[in-house]
Subunit: 289 residues, 2 copies
C-alpha cells in the first residue's frame, strides 16, 4: 500500500520522531513535516539536518491542517500535550504515538481526546536505543523492525490504515493487538530485563568493593548490563505505567530464580544443566531467526 | 620482564589455550608448543594453523622436558588430567591452568599434584567467548585483558613469576589474589549474570506463547541474554564449583529484587528512579573507563 501524508506534525523530534520523518521523506511518502518540541536547539538541529521542514512554536500551528499528528514524547508529557492539541485537531486528523506502554496511552486518549477517538491509533515502534535527540535520527531505524498498533475500541478503519501505512512506508513490520496483550508481552521481553539489569548494577554499585568488582567485569557483564545505561526517568515511567504486568513478571521470575537457588543448594547438577540447556537452545534458535 | 619458554605443553588447544600459543609465538616468547587434546581433528587444525608445532598423543610425551604445562580444559576433566601428568612432571616444570573458578582447581592440585605444589600456580584469563575450538584462537585475545593468578600457599616465587611473565607476554594485565577472593568477585560479576540470563530465557521458553514473546524481543533483550547462549555443561560446572559464593550472590540479588518489587507495588516512583539512576551512573562510568 502506498500512502501520502500532506502534512505530518511531530511532537518530540528525537531519535524516534526524527527517524519517522527521515524514513517517510526517503520513501517520498510525506509532504511537509512540522516539528514541535521543548528544546529550541534540538529543533534547530532537526531543521538544519532536513528532518523537519518547519518549526511550529504553538500546538495550534503544528496541528492546523495536519493529516497525521505523531506524539513522540515521554509518556509523562503526553497528558499535557493532548490537552494542548485537542481544541485544534481537525475532523480528519489522525493521532498516533510512539510510547513504550499502551494501556496508559489509551486511557489518556480516552480522557483527553474524547472527541477524537475514532482518529486515535496508539502505536509502539520497537526500536529503542540509548542515543537520543534529532542528531541520532536516521531513515533506516525502522527497517525490518516491529511496530505494534493497539487500536482503541473506537478507532476507525481509515485511521488504522493510515497509521499502518505510515509505518510500512518506514520499512517496519506492523502488527496489531489489544493494548493489554502488548503490555504483557513487553513486560516480559523488555521491561523485566531492564529492571533485572538495573537491579544487578545497583546491587554491585552499593558495595564497598564496587570498584574492584567493576574492574574485573568483562564482556558478558557489559552486554548483560548495557540496558542499565538507559534513562532512569523513562524507565521509572514505564515501570509505573505497566505496573501490574511487570509485577506479575517479577513474581514469576522470583519463582524461577528460587528454583535455581534450590537446585544449586541441593547440588542438583541435572536440574541446573537442564535449565541452562533449555535456555541455550532457545537463545541460539532465536538469534538465528 | 622478558620471558622465554623453551617448551610449552598445552592440554586443550581451544580458544583459550590456542590463543596463548599464538600470543607467545607472536611475542617470540616460546620455543616449541606441543598440543594435547581429545579431538584429533581439532589438533590437526591447530597444527595446520601454526598454533602448535607438534601433537603429543600421550601425557608423558607432552610434559617431557616442558618448562610450562597449561591445563586449558574444562574443570570437569582437570582431575583425570592431573593424575595422568603427575608421574611425568619434571622437577622444574611449572603447572598452571585457565579455569573460571579457582578454589576447586587449587583443591584438585593439592590432591593430585601433591609432589609438585611449589610449581603449581592456578590462573584465570578473563577472556571468555561463546566461540570455541582452535580455529577461534587469535594472538590478540588477551591484549589488555585481566588475568588473575591465585597462587597456592606452597607456590614458589619462581613459578609465580614464570606464569606472570607468560601472561604479560600475551599482553594481559596480571593481578594476584587469594582463590576465595577471586571466586567471590567472579560470582558477582560473571557467574550471577549468567545464571540470571539463563533463568530469564528458560522462563520465557517454557511459556505457551514463547514464540510470540521471542518474536517481539529486540536489541536490549539480545544483549541481556547473549550469555545465555554459553555452554550449559561449562556453566553447570562453574555454578557447582563456586556454589557457596554463587548462592550468596543469588540470595543478595533476591533481596535486591524483592526491594524493587516492593517499591513497584507501592508505586514508589522516587525509590525506583533512585535505583535506576544509581545503576545508570555506575554503568556509564564503568563503560567509559
Amino acid at each position: 500500500m502506498t500512502t501520502h501524508i500532506n502534512k505530518l506534525a511531530i511532537f518530540g523530534v528525537g531519535l524516534i520522531g526524527g527517524s519517522v520523518a527521515l524514513a517517510l521523506k526517503q520513501a517520498a511518502a510525506v509532504g511537509e513535516v512540522v516539528g514541535v518540541g521543548r528544546s529550541r536547539a534540538n529543533l534547530d538541529a532537526a531543521l538544519k539536518l532536513g528532518i523537519i521542514d518547519r518549526i511550529a512554536t504553538t500546538a495550534a500551528a503544528a496541528v492546523q491542517g495536519a493529516d497525521v499528528v505523531l506524539l513522540a514524547v515521554p509518556v509523562g508529557q503526553m497528558a499535557a500535550l493532548m490537552l494542548e492539541i485537542a481544541p485544534h485537531l481537525g475532523a480528519e486528523t489522525v493521532i498516533t504515538d510512539a510510547g513504550s506502554t499502551k494501556q496508559d496511552v489509551a486511557a489518556l486518549m480516552q480522557q483527553h481526546l474524547a472527541a477524537h477517538l475514532p482518529n486515535c491509533v496508539p502505536g509502539h515502534p520497537i526500536a529503542g536505543a540509548e542515543t537520543c535527540g534529532a542528531a541520532a535520527a536516521r531513515a533506516g531505524l525502522y527497517q525490518g523492525r516491529n511496530v505494534v498498533l493497539t487500536p482503541l475500541p473506537q478507532s476507525n478503519k481509515a485511521a488504522l490504515e493510515k497509521v499502518r501505512a505510515l509505518w510500512q512506508a518506514c520499512g517496519a513490520k506492523v502488527s496489531e493487538m489489544p493494548a493489554t496483550q502488548h503490555d504483557a508481552i513487553f513486560a516480559t521481553v523488555s521491561h523485566l530485563p531492564h529492571l533485572l539489569a538495573y537491579t544487578l548494577v545497583d546491587m554491585i554499585a552499593r558495595r564497598d568493593n564496587a570498584d574492584t568488582l567493576f574492574s574485573f567485569a568483562a564482556s558478558g557483564f557489559r552486554d548483560f548490563t548495557r540496558i542499565a545505561g538507559s534513562s532512569p526517568e523513562m524507565w521509572r515511567d514505564i515501570a509505573l505505567a505497566n505496573r501490574q504486568a511487570l509485577l506479575n513478571e517479577i513474581e514469576q521470575y522470583q519463582a524461577s530464580l528460587e528454583q535455581m537457588r534450590i537446585a544449586l543448594t541441593a547440588e542438583d547438577a541435572a536440574a541446573l544443566e537442564a535449565t541452562f540447556k533449555r535456555a541455550q537452545t532457545a537463545r541460539v534458535r532465536w538469534s538465528e531467526e
